[in-house]
């Protein structure tokens, strides 16, 4: 099989930079990370300098995703050698146990980290992930709520909790989590848009009107957000069609829906033009 560098005609520096970009964007393209990372480690380890440790970590996690325990084990050993007694490496060892579905052993691993360092958020979150993997949603939700009482600024945790609630169809509580995220990230169009989707799903006239407002807000923050544009159209249309609204509200929403339709059509025209270029 041809190497990555041969197939894509890239240098080792470009491969290293790609890995960094994927790290920064938190991409879960594990197969690609394994392909690029494995080659980098095998062929160019000496050139990577101190970057190699974070690359070992990144590749190890990707390897777990791809059931490449051989590669994961190699990376783990290198990290253990370099950072003996490190909590961060211990957590990676725990993740490997999770990947092997040895949940009790993994849990013990995280408990030992927490014994030494009760504030270790990573270990606590891994324990919650185990509950999720085992399908124990109610417990995961409970633990995550407890965690957030202590670590109220952990956005990743708030977002995870909102998703857990959505999967349980508890849209009210999901909305609450997204409200927290919107408060601390008022310029994030994605949170706005997701909040609008949750409100829409909850249903009822009041929630529909709220959803329309937040779709509009998301659009204001990012006029390229197609979900927000479609959402604006859908919510305005439903409000306009509702027998409970008066003529003024109906007229306004018909206008919003028409505007959205226009924008949607324009967006498709532009995309087709770009496609043909």
């Amino acid at each position: 099989m041809a190497s990555v560098s041969e197939m894509y005609d890239v240098t080792w520096e470009e491969m290293r930079d790609k890995l960094r970009k994927w790290r920064e964007d938190n991409h879960r393209n594990s197969e690609q990370i394994v392909d690029v990372g494995e080659e980098l480690i095998n062929e160019h380890a000496s050139k990577l300098g101190d970057d190699i440790w974070i690359i070992y970590e990144q590749v190890m996690i990707a390897a777990l995703d791809c059931s490449r325990d051989d590669l994961a084990w190699t990376c783990l050993q290198e990290l253990k050698k370099q950072f003996p007694g490190s909590q961060r490496v211990k957590r990676l060892a725990g993740m490997r146990l999770e990947a092997l579905e040895k949940y009790e052993d993994a849990s013990k691993q995280y408990d030992s980290i927490l014994q030494d360092d009760p504030t270790n958020t990573a270990a606590r979150k891994r324990k919650i992930s185990i509950l999720k993997a085992q399908g124990k949603s109610a417990e995961a939700i409970r633990e995550l709520n407890e965690y957030l009482e202590q670590f109220v600024g952990d956005q990743e945790a708030w977002h995870e909790l909102s998703e857990l609630y959505i999967n349980e169809h508890d849209y009210g509580k999901a909305a609450f989590c997204l409200e927290e995220l919107m408060m601390t990230n008022p310029h994030n169009h994605l949170y706005c848009e997701q909040y609008a989707e949750v409100k829409y799903t909850q249903g009822g006239l009041e929630n529909l009107e709220l959803s329309r407002k937040y779709f509009a807000q998301a659009l204001k923050l990012n006029n390229g957000n197609m979900r927000a544009l479609f959402g604006l159209y859908m919510s305005a249309s439903h409000i306009a069609a509702s027998p409970k609204v008066n003529a003024t509200v109906k007229k306004a929403n018909v206008k919003y829906a028409a505007w959205a339709t226009n924008q949607i059509n324009r967006a498709y025209q532009v995309s087709h033009a770009r496609y043909l270029l």
């Binding site: 995703d65 993997a133 399908g135 959505i166 169809h169 989707e197 479609f230 859908m234 967006a267």
Partner: protein, 206 residues
Amino acid sequence: MRMSVKLTTQAYCKMLLHAAKYPHCAVNGLLVAEKQKEKKKDSHSTPILCVDCIPLFHGTLALAPMLEVALTLIDTWCKENKYVIAGYYQANERTKDFRPNQVAEKVGARIAENFSEAAMIMVDSTRFTMGCYEPILAIYDHHENKWKCRDCNADCFEDWCEAQKITSALLEGRSYESLIDFDNHLDDLRNDWTNPEINKSVLHLC
């Protein structure tokens, strides 16, 4: 006698490619069949042939607005192409969880409103292999407001050998990397959820 549902290679292929592209997420999508012109007298014995599959979402499946958008747009596309939405598929986030949940039942029921013989299909990821040696679907029929599971074997395919061979080949070739679902389309409108390139690959391998 219930009409049985059969899948073409293209439909089966794209379903599995969708699940393979997002192994850590739940995925769902629609199945379409050609619109029948008239009801033949012996229509009870003619199976519904699902000729294509439209991958919809990955990740959070339980939100309404984008699903409604997708159903509306795809319905329009169906009318233009003389198709009808005939089924729904879903693969759950957790591998070991292959029972239909509330989302599957709701969407399935909605499709059944417009197409009484609608099928709901759950993908069993525990048996998902690159070799595709056996069909990994559980097919559910809507009967008196309940979903009943039917056995899925080679008979549920227009040509199981072809489906097995081609799906396996496309998985090996990592075609799933270029599979487009409706979520991808919403991220960038140029992304085509009809997946013409993959359709070509399937035809090519036939």
